[in-house]
Symmetry: C4
């Protein structure tokens, strides 16, 4: 094996290897720490008493982080062929670049690769916002995020059903409230899309209090919508909770401590 291939295999182990190896664990922990510090920097930068005096340092830290993330991306792109031995190197790398995690990695360095957009203040702010999405890079390392994803996936069908019900309920509630309240409060309930903001705040039970019905008909419709909606909007939590119990929990009965067999194990015919 030529030295370059040995190096590539080593880099691949460092970046993708099991965290039981000490060197891989160290590299991966360092990247995770950098991600967390980076997001923290984006957050505190918006505090006037931090962004002002430490603005230059934070910009430097940001530049350094991007360099590291860019290096990481290129190293991953280079070494990913290790796990795709049967594919042509170019195909392997293209395919890797289109995996969700690789796209997240690209998104994480994208803000720094778009200097041409730095002209417009509003775009600049949106690009800065993108840096918070570096959080998603943590998903590569976090068993928790993957577990959450699996729970969502296993209940996709139920969640779609409920989501559909919520959307229908929201459209009906918004329309009803618009027709009931538009005359009494033409500013607040100016249109059905404006009423939809009321419907979201009500059906999720957030209830900021910036919009609420004042007519008897509106209150009646809102009461019905609230009572129906509370149940419907809280459903996903119940569904996901049962998914967690099924996936992570230990509800499956263990082997019998007396005979050592599981309840669902066949009786051995010879015994």
């Amino acid at each position: 094996m030529p030295p370059s291939r040995r190096l590539r295999a080593y880099v691949h182990r460092l970046l993708e290897g099991s965290p039981t190896r000490r060197d891989a664990r160290a590299v991966q922990a360092a990247i995770q720490l950098l991600i967390v510090l980076n997001v923290a920097a984006v957050v505190v930068e918006t505090l006037p008493w931090v962004g002002g005096p430490f603005g230059a340092s934070l910009a430097a830290f940001e530049a350094a982080s991007v360099a590291v993330f860019l290096t990481e991306y290129l190293l991953r792109l280079w070494s990913c062929v290790e796990a795709r031995a049967l594919q042509h190197p170019v195909t392997a790398r293209l395919r890797w670049a289109l995996t969700p995690m690789a796209l997240v990695d690209l998104l994480a360095i994208a803000p720094a690769l778009m200097p041409w957009s730095r002209l417009d203040l509003r775009t600049l702010r949106a690009v800065r916002l993108l840096r918070v999405f570096r959080l998603l890079k943590l998903g590569r390392y976090s068993r928790a995020v993957r577990a959450l994803g699996r729970a969502f996936a296993s209940k996709r069908e139920e969640l779609v059903v409920v989501g559909f019900g919520v959307v229908i309920l929201m459209i009906l509630a918004s329309s009803l409230l618009y027709y009931a309240e538009h005359e009494a409060q033409p500013e607040a309930f100016s249109s059905i899309p404006a009423s939809a903001w009321w419907a979201v705040a009500t059906l999720t039970t957030v209830g900021y209090g910036d919009m609420y019905p004042v007519t008897a008909l509106g209150k009646l419709a809102a009461a019905f919508a609230a009572i129906l909606g509370v149940g419907l909007v809280a459903l996903p939590a119940g569904i996901l909770a049962s998914a967690f119990s099924d996936h992570l929990g230990s509800r499956a009965p263990g082997p019998c401590p007396h005979c050592g067999r599981r309840p669902d194990q066949d009786d051995e015919p010879g015994s």
Copy 2:
């Protein structure tokens, strides 16, 4: 078979047939799309910057949709006898016209069939509102809506129990708050029905903040009601979530430990 009967059978297949047939799928998808676009039109029409400039186009689209829905209704009425071969054609059509989905279809074209009511502005608005209920037509095609309906139906008993408890708690809480707060806030807590609006907002935990107790007694009663009510009003979500797990989930009962066959397994005649 005369051509008219062949045509009727074909129309019936198109409208009610399994969506695995390509022509039926196309027709049914087109109707669904039209429903969604129609409801979207009702919603965006209320935005001043849409309803104004595009009002005429939206009215034309509405007219065209009603024509399609009317045609659909008449074709369904004509072809429904295909699935009711043993009934007299008139009886079959009357019975079909009284099924929930046929009534929803009628409701969807009703606004356009009531031109005489177009005189009064308030009635006109109510009639327009009815058009949003075209959403319910989607129920015919949506497995999700049917699943939601089945989950509700399977837990009807529990939901009635909880609904009864919620109504009693609301009446008691409204009355208590009325007696506690009426003197301190005669405007807000003007009567028990007015307090009921507070009770709905509190027990569903929406809490807009337009009404809240200010006296010590009222706060104490409200605290008790809120704590009790949170549990009671959130119950339906828990009940429905377990219904979903039972119906859509994979908690199907395992094989019988005695004979080793599953409850839903056909008896093998030869064994």
Copy 3:
């Protein structure tokens, strides 16, 4: 059997008998209807445009209802010995009078039996409020209320555990917020009991918006309390939902359709 005993037995059947008998069903339905109308009268009476013009009619209806409820109470007191054949008539009636449902019946006629308290306006209002509690009389007839009671009883232990946790969390959160916010908002967070109102509104997620922290420390403490509290206060709903599933639901696997035995049934040794 003397006629008076036959009459007593008949009255007992009418009032307590199974609602499958037509005469018992009619009497019991009439009492339930009267209860519902009575509570409705108390509620609508507080509306100025009902209590004013129809005040006299409502008072007459109230008087008539009390007469019926008083008669019902005395008939129950008289006939209850039918179900307590082995007890001395006086003991039997005293014991019956102390059952929860008999106390509720007494409470329902109590407002009318206290004419001496009609002098003070505030007491009078409190006595009127008592009339709403006639709702509880419905519990005698309602399978739903009994099912709710059983679900509560079966999870008493868990509910006490959670209730204890909620009380501790509320005291800790109220104290923390008092110490954090007292200086900034001496009016709103004037004492720990005053902060407790904030804690109730926050932990139940009602959030009226009449009290909220404004200092950084208060917001931090409130955020922790809110996140912890949401889980804790919503627990009872989850616990009760599982109680409902266990008690009313059909989650217990039925007999195996093949061999006719239940999964938990012993294998017959002889087979």
Copy 4:
């Protein structure tokens, strides 16, 4: 056994013994009552019409309580070696002093042992606040608190997963809202940490109404965050509810279908 050892054993039984013994039950109930009264004193002391006139009495009660709690702590420290017979007395006492409950006991007397800090008003208030944490001493006696702790512990994994998801969602939502609303409401959404307060109030569905989006983009982002967040933040309640059902409920695994014995049944040595 020398008298001092007999006394130590007796003290140990009194303080730590099973509450089925009458003398142990009396001592333990007295300590619990003192804890509850103590916390109640801290709470009512902040009411101006209690703290003023009864301030001296409450201070005396506080001093007496601290004396009792100090004595209790020293007696526990002295007698704990009874349960640690195989350890050197000094090691045993050091180890005991580092158990969570012993630290809570120390925390409960700490406020009185810090007279030097009584100079600064703010510190003094914080020290007084510490006295509320005497509530945690109840945990030693309460089966309920231990059950709550076990339910948390058994679902630690799921709760960490969800907590991680909530933190990520909060950071993303706060950032999005900051970028959407900062220009329209520079005061309210002044920085991402300030937006985090909005995110907490929204995702827990408290919704005080002190901060809410007003721009279309902000409302859209808030609607998505609210709908996602409601499910995610309500998840812990569902998870804990299933933990309660597993731990306290009667869902114990049935007998093994192979050998017919229950998992918690002792192996009979003779069979």
